[in-house]
Amino acid sequence: MAYHNIIFTLNGEAEAVVVPSHMTLLQMLREEMVMTGTKNGCAAGECGACTVLLNGEPVNSCLVLAVECDGQELVTVEGLAHDSQLDPLQQALVEAGGVQCGFCTPGVLISARALLDRNPHPTEADVRAALVGNLCRCTGYVRIVDGVLAAAERA
């Protein structure tokens, strides 16, 4: 089994990790870094619970190999809040009641953050399209969409 030294930035901080070739980004985050905010739902790219930002783009971290992140920038749900202040998206989702069991929430927040970063004034259709890869079994999605739209209005 081959191992690789990789360096990357995670939520703005430089990291160096040794990873086996076959380790996924999701495994590296949860098992090597013990950053468990990113969730493992299906490990097959279907549920979106493991979504992280890779150079600003939302990706399913279960489908990305850790070695592919060498030299790249990563943002996880733990990187959204700063200085004890929630990201406006986090605050809006709380207020809209868009969180129930909370297992899909990290992935939803990351997908929505990527949307607002490239399109600060999305329509409802834009929000729904951006969240199409994030499955939620509790909320019925309406309050999640409301929360993202409210965050966009506030920004």
Partner: protein
């Protein structure tokens, strides 16, 4: 008066969930997020590929020889039954498998990959038996018996298994006199409905970690809706004192019923009894969870006869439901390993075994008025399905 003034008026207020800030920041701890260090063992389950078969032999020697495999268990190790209501299961099958995916053996190894390899090296020889795929057939006298000793299982006093059949529970609810009421109805609708098994599919897969201390104390961490039921049932089945067993249920990433009762949680505990001091983790992959290692919502076949009457609020209704038992995780293949016949029941005929309700309406006008919209659906069936 002062206290009254201090009481907040919550009606109409939007109140944040108590755990919502942890959940939006990634700080919330679910079962799979708990850390157990490098001594953690990973469990995998060898499962039946057949819907109904006798187990002729299980050879674990090749799997045990694999370096890194710490324990392998089979049904031989755990003779007692387990189950939430009807105690009809073994943690690992003994003598017979009754659905595709039934656990036959469990492995604990130092990595998930090794546990996976060990499962492949377990050789099980089966003698195939006739399976049952349909609940109505399963409830019929022609069906092969899935549980030949059904009547010997332990049950609470509200479950009624029928000896010599596959019927796990049969109950009737009757009120009123439907038979005399049908003729006064404007239209009668009689239909048959089928509902398949339904998977709950929480986004968080099932996961449980068990540790047995050298002192015999047992801790189970599980994504669980029923920590108390799990402690009671697992402890009893494994011969552990309840005061020696603790179940910890962190946040649950959706359950919708499939993490209630006891299913896969018993397996890591059973395996952990063979490797004291090591935490043993069983985490179901999505495709496993979506097959048969846990429970699913029961499928149903039901027949229903109902009617409309002018000027009344109630009308006669009778229905017969035959459902596959949900708590048995038998899905597509052997659905009616057990069959529930639920019957909101009809009149008073003591002959009818599966009969159904009638709420006797207060009839204000017996004059049948035109119900042409319904008439198309009227089937004055002559078959005696309620009798």
């Amino acid at each position: 008066m002062e206290t009254t003034e201090k009481t907040p008026d919550l009606i109409g207020q939007s109140v944040d969930r108590l755990d919502v800030h942890e959940k939006v920041t990634g700080a919330a701890v679910f079962t799979d997020d708990l850390q157990f260090g490098r001594k953690l063992l990973h469990a995998r389950i060898k499962r039946s590929p057949h819907p109904h078969a006798l187990i002729k032999s299980i050879d674990i020697s090749r799997a045990l020889a694999l370096p890194g495999v710490k324990a392998i268990v089979t049904g031989e190790d755990f003779p007692e039954h387990i189950g939430l209501y009807l105690k009809d299961k073994h943690i690992f099958a003994r003598e017979r498998v009754r659905f595709v995916g039934e656990p036959v053996a469990g492995v604990a190894a130092i990595t998930e990959e090794l546990a996976e390899q060990a499962v492949e090296l377990i050789d099980v020889e089966y003698q195939l038996l006739e399976p049952v795929f349909d609940p109505e057939f399963g409830a019929s006298p022609e069906a092969p018996l899935i549980h030949p000793d059904l009547e010997n299982y332990e049950v609470p006093n509200f479950i009624f298994p029928q000896a010599g059949t596959n019927i796990a529970n049969h109950f009737k609810i009757r009120k009123g006199d439907t038979e005399r009421t049908w003729e006064r109805c404007a239209a009668i609708v009689e239909r048959k409905f089928h509902i398949p098994h339904i998977q709950h599919v929480p986004i968080e897969p099932h996961v449980a970690i068990a540790k047995v201390e050298q002192t015999g104390k047992v801790t189970l961490w599980a994504a669980s809706q029923s920590p108390f039921a799990q402690r009671n049932l697992i402890a009893k089945t494994l011969g552990i004192s309840q005061s020696d067993m603790r179940v910890i249920a962190p946040l649950v990433g959706g359950g919708f019923g499939c993490k209630a009762g006891v299913t896969m949680e018993a397996m890591p505990v059973a395996i952990a009894t063979k490797v004291p001091g090591y935490p043993v983790k069983l985490r179901l992959r999505r495709e496993r969870r979506n097959s048969t290692l846990t429970s699913c919502a029961r499928g149903w076949s039901s027949r229903s006869k109902s009617a409309v009457m002018p000027m009344v609020n109630c009308w006669p209704w009778k229905t017969q439901c035959i459902g596959t038992a949900a708590r048995r995780p038998n899905t597509v293949s052997i659905s009616p390993a057990l069959v529930v016949t639920a019957v909101p029941a009809r009149t008073t005929s003591p002959m009818s075994k599966q009969t159904a309700c009638a709420s006797t309406p207060t009839i204000r006008s017996a004059a049948p008025i035109a119900a042409s919209a319904c008439r198309n659906y009227t089937r004055r069936s002559t078959n005696a399905w309620m009798n």
